[in-house]
Symmetry: D2
């Protein structure tokens, strides 16, 4: 059994890790930390876990965690992870960080997040469909952002094929991405029966998209605009791909099938938030805009699973030599 | 033209008053107050009003308001109204108060709201279908609570007919009743695809229901349990009415038709939040549970209109001798 | 491994059985039938299963199914099950029927469903919390209706304690209970931001409630009114319980805790559709209406899991001597 | 008073025309036709109108309508309007057609809708912000599609300014655009908590966008992809505009303000479906993607009002020399 700790277990990401790890046959959660809830049972914050997991939140003590765990998931805010990760590494732990702190080279991080990086180290970008080899041996893995996961998986095959001039990613996310803290943004009357574009040209996730897709084709250009729709979970990404030569449907289909041939969590399947809800799948389809230079690729993920906790467990599986599907090989929850 | 002031114009109730008064042919809004937003144009808080109303929020100054208005709507929190209403009355204004402060006799208010009443005076309960005559000449009208409006209108005809032993009101409300302030209660992920019962046996609106229905039949008993459903506007009230003798559908139908014969805003119409959305109607239907002592009466209102701002304008119309429909005689907004 | 067949695998219930059985470590689905989709892969109807289950729908052939399965779930419409079950039993299969056909004695069924019963036999009501012993050895189990599951579990402890005079069940269901077939009832613009009461005094599920609770206390009376809310999954039942003597909170608490002491799927937990979504739990809480004879008990289930497919698998586990939690011991999916 | 007829009054568009015309001070509905509902009162289909409008559906009889009306709105399916409009024109009526039949030149219509046009005549495209002069004297006005209204208004100022190379319109619509007829597309469990792209490269509304924006700048290119979100009303259009030279925010702001200077229904206002719900406004804002050639323009309309019935009444007002705001100058309905 892999002994697992969760640093910051009260938020949505922590809760989702716990929900999924309840079902993992090779991992056991031994520590869950929370500064504010230390001493309380998990179910005080996550009543869905009542009866399933008999643990209490505890204070963060890296040395003690080093004794009780093999690997930790850090589910703390951007900027906070880099303060705690060094201590955890020193305690002999491997770390999968779900914040933005280890996704980008330190200098890019500092430019985008306008914050000094306290723990610069080579970043391992934990998108298993692109970086499984590096993840296998990593000490610290930076788990990808939710939008980048959906966008990169939608675009990578065509970008690597060298045919892409530009992609406009128009993404539509459920509101859970805004976190557990109530705000004007998450107020039901502001979300229901509505939709809004936000950070229209300036969302920080763009840096991850450019890093990963740019590595596959240095001259392609990428735009990104996110929206919030009246859904809790899920991101649908519409990638308007402009290509440099005419392409037939069959060719595009081959490119995607080949790229994802041995990637069990990416399916060529009509995207729908319902079909991936609660699961680690990324469903993708595309349509060639006949007579034009545009191909529209659409992807769907559950932002809390493939976009966060599920992908983190997929990374853990790879780091420990397990089949990457272990414990997370389940259907979505439609309807 | 009736010159109208709104005291506390930034919340949902204030916004709804403004939305409706834009369309009123005999009333003109001359003052809108807000302590926090004084100086800003209305559209800074209510962007839906852009282009329709060219006013700015101002500080509360009763004397100045006395010069510029004939009547004011006080849309401030429970407990705050009774601090400002005396000054407004002294300035010669008539007042329609949308808080709970003037709905109950002072001693009942103090017991229910656990607060000393600062302005005890005989209360005029502003439910026009029951109290039009008193409203006509009132200086201060206590505009009813949203739940009581739907519950009282559902139950009054049978209660007055003297056949009711007990009514269990099981109400389902949209979340706008919780107001504009974000909270855990209004957080989209907590509301969407969910429903919860709250204040299950202790909701303060029960006092209004008992006051009004109890006045029609002193021995009848009333229970009340509210729920929040994933809707913004509207309250559906299911009244499980237990009667003291068998009743046929025709008799019940007559009782309701007669009771509401000249009440234009109460319709015998299959209740649906959609059909009354944005409008001042209360739609009611019923079904006799054959072979039992139960009759189920169902009512639907828009909590922000018939349950608040629309009813307040209906009261204003009555106070100024206008047809009660003036300016609020419009269809709901389905779908 | 238990070899499992699903008769009628294209609807919501069939799909949910497949979703859950994918995760069951002791059961293997070997046959899924559908008259209309025979020959097609499961994923043509249930795209969420793509990659997870490699089967095709086939025609119903009881003899062949008898060779390939140990147990079948019949997920066909009311009235259709009783036509196919006898043949399946003759082929040596045990049957868990998810229609209404085997929940009630034949004469009650005929009165309520207005249909001649073609396979009268003593009914085993598959609510494990009440009937585990009978289920263990049953050949045919009638899996309970969704509303009765939530209502009976909410009321049974107090009813068996002999204190109940009457219960008014006011239930609020997600729309998935109406099935996969589009209709005016399920049309998004008619459901969203709305709520409606339906079959207000005449819903057929009342017969199950009366059968099960009446068996625990013959003189108690029960009323039942269902509503549809803008949710896909879940039923919240508000049970207004009228008791024949004053009861303190502690006494009621003891009654529930004792009744459900060794029933892992019933939790004393604040009810919320989110916390049970996708899971087999029934969460229950209550509140005593001080100074009155009313106790309000609230329960929450996922109508498709504890109200259908999950409970059916729980029954299968019991029939085959497994821990009843096997394969369905997972957390709900909040938010 | 303008005497108004509605041909095909049972659908969403017919219902919305009726809802709005109830409030129009200069128009009176005298005829509402429906083949299937002839003889029934309007409220049988539109219960929201109960008490407000005392008319019955009648059969379509052009000559009789010619006697009783001055103008008719044809709210019948695409392809059906061109069969009835000639007879209505012969009866001396002016016609505002809400189908697609009179929006495009006949040859374009035939190519896009794959149907012979039965009444080819020069089309007057009823978008008042672009064509008020032609509308004023038209006999037959083709009321624009919902998507084109939002897209054209978002793009026109920059296109006319000659700076646009290409626009990718990524539109998100409420489901009411799919009409009143239940289908798999509108089934609540398929829509709620979901989003889907459809007619990804082939939606027929693209022809209107190209016609209107192409007329302002012949060399610009346009792409269009629609989505359905879990909302009833409203369309948010995200226009990714690629320009041929760097532009500052101030310049873009001036272009929009000037273009819409005397157009009361277009507001430079942060787009939100809530703020325009039920109203005839189109709210627009934009953001320059610094350092790139992209400007993102976002528009919001209510598809049933500015995208259909409200715009049709705006056209009627212009045709009869009224202020275009008459009867439709009301606030949206947030929240």
């Amino acid at each position: 059994m892999i002994r697992v700790g969760i640093i910051g277990g009260t938020g949505y990401t922590g809760g989702e890790l716990l929900r999924l790890l309840c079902m993992h046959p090779m991992a056991e959660v031994t520590v869950v930390t929370s500064r504010s809830q230390a001493g309380k049972p998990l179910e005080a914050i996550h009543p869905n876990l009542k009866g399933l997991m008999d643990l209490r939140f505890e204070d963060l003590d890296p040395a003690a965690i080093g004794d009780k765990c093999d690997v930790v998931f850090t589910a703390v805010p951007h900027g906070a992870a880099m303060s705690v990760v060094p201590g955890l590494v020193d305690a002999g732990l491997r770390v999968i960080d779900l914040s933005a702190d280890y996704r980008l080279p330190a200098e890019v991080f500092e430019r985008v997040y306008k914050k000094k990086h306290l723990d610069p180290r080579p970043n391992v970008y934990g998108l298993p469909e692109l970086h499984a080899e590096e993840i296998k041996n990593a000490t610290v893995v930076g788990n990808p952002g939710c939008y980048p996961t959906g966008a990169i998986l939608a675009g990578a095959p065509l970008v690597r094929a060298g045919v892409v001039e530009r992609i406009v990613f128009d993404s539509k996310s459920g509101i859970s991405g805004a976190g557990q803290e109530p705000s004007e943004t998450t107020h039901y009357p502001n979300v229901a029966e509505n939709i809004r574009a936000y950070n229209i040209t300036t969302h920080r996730h763009k840096a991850e998209i450019e890093q990963e897709l740019g590595a596959l084709s240095p001259n392609a250009r990428f735009s990104f605009t996110p929206h919030v729709i009246p859904s809790v979970r899920g991101i649908l990404t519409t990638a308007h791909v402009f290509v440099n030569r005419p392409m037939a449907t069959e060719e595009v289909q081959s490119i995607y099938e080949e790229f994802y041939a041995d990637k069990p969590f990416v399916r060529m399947n009509k995207p729908s938030l319902a079909n991936v809800r609660g699961s680690n799948f990324c469903d993708i389809s595309f349509e060639v805009d006949e007579g034009t230079d545009r191909i529209v690729v659409v992807s769907a993920i559950d932002n809390m699973v493939k976009g966060a906790a599920g992908q983190a467990i997929q990374n853990m599986n790879i780091m420990y030599g397990l089949d990457e599907r272990t414990g997370i090989w389940m259907s979505g929850l439609p309807p």
